[in-house]
């Protein structure tokens, strides 16, 4: 059951110019969590930033909670540069749906940017409980510097990297690389797991994903409550009759990409 906790930072590591690993001591009583769930942090007690900031759980062990934080604005900046020992208000774990482990053990993960975090949590969780076999990560970032290969080297059988500027690996985004791998017969079948910018997931949903049995994705949105109360993070999901709005924070974060009404979803 979700709750309010205070987390103490016990380790931080600058992974790239913008990305930081922030490791908290697992707060006493912090519930177990599953891949696709997130926490929501009150980064300062001032009014800037005002709202909590949501971050995917990248790992949760008996003693530690890991987050991957990319600096994109004030909140992430303050968090990324918080010193060891700092105590931060953490609410969670939030998210009503999670990634199920692969049916036939093998899995393809597609991550864009910090979408890497839930993919790592999935791979680690399923390795721990032995439900993961071969794990291919298709991983895209803007440039070589932001490609956090050191972080995910051990969690996947193979990491297929792409950079927009071509500075490392495949030149293009993760979707284009996935398509190439699918065409070459190097990926396909089973469940496709993804997380990344909505544009990436949207592009993938229509194309490459067709070659997989299912495409499950963890979505993002600006959030206020994180618990399904404010209706601020809705996404249109297809139903028999038409569309209903679901909240990413509590009906998600994990959705079957084929059920999302991409056309009606204007961010």
């Amino acid at each position: 059951m979700k709750g309010l906790f205070t987390g103490r930072i016990i380790r931080t590591q600058r992974l790239s110019p913008l990305s930081h690993l922030i490791v908290f001591e697992r707060p006493r009583g912090f519930p177990d969590a599953a891949p696709g769930q997130f926490v929501s942090l009150r980064i300062t007690s001032t009014i800037t930033p005002l709202l909590r900031r949501p971050f995917s759980i990248m790992d949760l062990t008996g003693t530690e909670l890991h987050l991957l934080v990319k600096v994109v604005g004030k909140g992430s900046d303050i968090l990324a540069h918080s010193p060891c020992g700092a105590e931060i208000d953490i609410a969670g774990p939030f998210g009503g749906t999670v990634f199920p482990s692969p049916e036939k053990k093998d899995a393809v993960f597609v991550a864009g940017g910090t979408g890497l975090a839930p993919m790592i949590f999935a791979a680690r969780t399923w390795k721990r409980d032995r439900s993961l076999g071969r794990a291919d990560l298709v991983y895209g970032a803007g440039c070589e510097e932001e490609l956090l290969v050191s972080l995910c080297g051990e969690d996947f059988t193979a990491v297929h990297s792409a950079t927009i500027d071509g500075s490392c690996g495949f030149e293009g985004d993760a979707v284009a690389l996935l398509e190439k791998l699918v065409e070459e017969g190097k990926a396909g079948g089973g469940i496709l797991y993804s997380c990344g910018p909505t544009g990436m997931v949207r592009a993938m949903a229509g194309r490459a994903a067709a070659r997989f049995s299912r495409h499950l994705t963890s979505l993002e949105s600006v959030m206020a409550c994180g618990v399904g109360a404010c209706r601020g993070c809705t996404v249109p999901v297809k139903t028999d009759g038409g569309t209903v709005l679901r909240t990413i924070c509590s009906d998600g974060t994990v959705f079957d990409a084929s059920e999302i009404d991409w056309e009606r979803w204007e961010e």
Partner: protein, 304 residues
């Protein structure tokens, strides 16, 4: 140490204490389980419902500004039927006092909604959200016109005998106290002030307004001086209780609203970042008692 009783009477209803969750941020109440102890607070003003379910607005719905939050949820709600058959009973079962928030797009809608409310056991206090755009008025809020507002309030009092009726006002008017007076004269048992302040923002990179509907509603610390001013003036204009809401972010803020003349308060936006705040306010009030309203320091004069 003896604890102060915080029981608060509004119309025919007695709340266990004067600290409520505001309509909208509160959702249907139970979403915050685990984060805030709903039995400790005076009640939950549920998300405004309309007669039919509503989808709300497309596009971005939330956007942070300097000290504030803009929202364009657009009254997404499950509709009266689901609300009264599922959401409200669950709240009551959990020991929570619901204040039911109602709104309508036009008069016909409104009548049906009140009829649906009349048939429901367990509802003894409603809050009329008079701030939403009204179709008949070309999208203008009912709450910006004294006659229309009075008509809506009077109809609620007529249709729902014995029901305690709060009229929730919009600050987007020249003189909110005049509208409060109109509501009182029409029979309202209390005034809730304020709803969100109209504002907008622009997405620089995309070169377009942040919100599809362009205009959105501002809440949070930024609007607190505006809300406090509204409560101060309204409580000096009407004799019915005033429920203060707008930007309450700390225990001190809550105390200021009581001093300004509020009989009860609501916490909205702050619940998002500090869900334990309402409980902390209740605890403090139990220790200190509810601060009395300030005297009439001086006659009201315009600002410089």
């Amino acid at each position: 140490m003896s604890r102060h009783s915080l029981e608060t009477k509004i119309g025919a209803v007695t709340l266990r204490n004067p600290v409520l969750l505001a309509s909208g941020p509160a959702g249907y109440g139970l979403e915050y389980e685990g984060l805030l102890d709903l039995e400790r607070i005076g009640g939950v003003v549920t998300k405004t419902i309309s007669f039919e379910p509503r989808e709300g607005n497309p596009g971005t719905r939330l956007h942070e500004t300097g000290g504030g939050l803009l929202n364009s949820i657009g009254l997404e709600n499950v509709g009266a039927e689901v609300f009264f058959s599922e959401k409200m009973p669950a709240l009551v079962d959990a020991g929570i006092k619901p204040v039911v928030s109602l709104a309508a797009e036009d008069w016909e809608d409104y009548r049906m909604l009140l009829d649906a409310t009349a048939g429901t056991v367990g509802v003894d206090i409603i809050e009329l959200n008079l701030s939403c755009p009204n179709v008949e008025r070309g999208g203008m809020a009912v709450g910006t016109n004294p006659e229309l507002l009075a008509k809506y309030v009077r109809h609620a009092k007529d249709t729902l005998p014995g029901m305690t009726v709060l009229a929730k006002l919009t600050p987007n008017v020249g003189d909110i106290a005049a509208l409060a007076l109109a509501a009182e004269e029409a029979g309202a048992d209390g005034i809730t002030a304020i709803n969100t302040v109209v504002g907008m923002d622009i997405d620089l990179a995309a070169r377009r307004p942040v919100f599809k509907r362009i205009r959105a509603g501002l809440s949070g610390p930024a609007v607190m001086p505006i809300a406090l001013d509204a409560v101060w003036r309204i409580s000096r204009t009407v004799d019915i209780p005033v429920v203060g809401v707008g930007g309450i972010t700390s225990i001190a803020d809550a105390m200021k609203f009581f001093m300004a003349g509020a009989a009860a308060i609501q916490v909205g936006t702050a619940v998002f970042y500090d869900p334990a705040l309402p409980e902390r306010i209740v605890e403090t009030l139990e220790e200190t008692g509810i601060p009395g309203p300030l005297g009439d320091c001086s006659r009201m004069k315009g600002a410089g």
